[in-house]
């Protein structure tokens, strides 16, 4: 199970990549392997404002629909439209082409509450 050490993580299995004032969000390798066979992704609208832990996207596998939560308060500035045609990217490249949305965050201090690689590895092991 891959857990890159340059990312942050949430308890609900999102990964977070800092990009200046923005964060890029996806789901972890562990999460995609638990869900398997992602068949549909519902993306948020660009410019939508979300609070931390607000359900922002939906990833559906054959078995179930799962909410993807905003790791911090912010505004959606970019969504991965490629997933609409190829939701399986989340399974194949969870940390790469399978990213889900980018948030412009209000307060970078909120990220301090997220897990680092060690904390996340401990959670899933």
């Amino acid at each position: 199970m891959t857990i890159p050490d340059d990312l942050l993580y949430t308890e609900s299995h999102e990964w977070i990549k800092r990009e200046g004032d923005n964060i890029r969000v996806g789901i972890t390798d562990h999460a995609q392997s638990e869900l398997t066979d992602v068949v549909y992704v519902e993306l948020p609208k660009v410019d939508r404002q979300v609070n931390a832990k607000e359900a922002t996207a939906v990833v559906e596998s054959v078995k179930a629909a799962s909410d993807i939560f905003a790791p911090a308060k912010g505004t959606v500035v970019e969504v991965n439209k490629t997933l609409e045609a190829d939701p399986g990217l989340i399974n194949r490249e969870p940390y790469g082409q399978g990213w889900i949305f980018v948030l412009k965050i209000n307060n970078a201090d909120e990220l301090k509450q997220l897990k680092d690689v060690e904390a996340y590895r401990a959670q899933i092991s």
Partner: protein, 354 residues
């Protein structure tokens, strides 16, 4: 049985294209035995056990007094006076107590009317803990069956059950399943479970066998519109509403729930279980989503998924009978948004002609 071993979609395709094995050891097995067993079962179950020759099984329902479904099951006649009931895991204990209580009641009633000698004996045994089972399903089943039981063994015909010697023990092989593919269900002593499971995987290796989980079992059965108790069937629904009247013999003079079913049949059910298919590619339907027509709420989804064979959203829903017609246009509400769907005929998936 886990939800999946590797991937629901891959396990599903394996069963459609080659052959897969499911651990069904969780299912319950009850045995009714005695010269009165057949007559008594006919008062407890909807289908007619008199139609069964020895070695033949039938799909049937166990109903409550309101006609609601306690369980759906297969009853096999495994001897002149001996029947095997294969029931849902979650219902096995409830089924057993329900049947046991009625068996006792029947005896005490006869006793008070002074006619004890007229009661043909029947005893009921819960063997659920003693048996293990696997379902082996897929178009390559015949090859696998012969690899397991020898070239001269005869694959039982559909809905029949036969005992076969296997590696120092005996197993019961039924030509039944829950996937829409050709296949068998095999029952054996719980202590032989690992041995048999491993033998099937070993002999099936060259046929591309995979262990398959509950997830694939659910998508396979839903493509065929086979109902799942607890989702599509419940104590609040009767077999007529569920569109399964074929497995109810209303010509039998007496069985629990019969009066209610006769009324439902005469008056017509208020709601019916129908298969449906989404009109556009989009989010898959899920249980408990609301069904609309022209803005009016007409029902609720009981099963829904993305069909791995069709790569398309499918499901089953109870809808008001006025709209329970093939081709009816309905809408499924998914996270506040309505998506168009069409009522279809069973099954939702048909194998392409070879």
């Amino acid at each position: 049985m886990p939800v999946q071993y590797t991937s629901i979609v891959r396990e599903h395709q394996t069963v459609r294209n080659d052959v897969g094995i499911f651990d069904i050891s969780h299912m319950g097995q009850l045995i009714a035995d005695g010269s009165g067993a057949g007559e008594w079962l006919n008062t407890m179950l909807t289908n007619n056990v008199d139609k069964l020759d020895v070695g033949v099984g039938q799909y049937t329902f166990l109903l409550n007094e309101r006609g609601g479904i306690i369980d759906d099951l297969i009853v096999y006649r495994i001897g002149e006076q001996r029947y095997l009931l294969v029931v849902n895991a979650a219902r096995a204990d409830e089924d057993f107590s329900w049947l046991q209580n009625h068996l006792k009641e029947g005896r005490s009633q006869e006793r008070t009317s002074g006619g004890l000698e007229t009661v043909a004996p029947c005893k009921l045994i819960n063997r659920s803990a003693d048996f293990g089972g696997v379902a082996v399903q897929g178009p390559r089943i015949a090859e696998l069956f012969h690899a397991l039981f020898g070239e001269n063994a005869n694959l039982p015909s559909r809905n029949t059950i036969t005992d076969f010697p296997f590696s120092g023990t005996t197993v019961s092989v039924a030509r039944t399943g829950y996937t829409g593919e050709d296949g068998i269900e095999v029952f054996f002593c719980a202590t032989d479970a690992v041995k048999f499971w491993n033998a099937v995987l070993d002999k099936g290796k060259q046929l591309g066998i995979k262990p398959c989980g509950l997830g694939a079992r659910d998508t396979l059965r839903l493509e065929m519109c086979y109902p799942l108790n607890g989702s599509d069937l419940s104590a609040e629904r009767n077999p007529i509403e569920a569109g399964l009247g074929f497995f109810v013999d209303l010509t039998k003079p007496n069985f629990i729930g019969r009066d209610v079913l006769l009324n439902t049949k005469d008056a017509g059910p208020r709601e019916k279980l129908v298969p449906f298919r989404m009109k556009e590619k989009g989010p898959p339907p899920r249980p408990h989503y609301t069904v609309f027509r022209d803005g009016e709420r007409i029902g609720e989804v009981t099963s829904g998924t993305l069909s791995p064979s069709l790569n398309w959203g499918i499901g089953m829903a109870y809808v008001s009978s006025a709209h329970a017609k093939n081709g009816a246009e309905i809408e499924i509400e998914i996270r506040g948004q309505k998506f168009a769907a069409t009522v279809e005929k069973k099954p939702l998936y048909r194998k392409p002609a070879p």
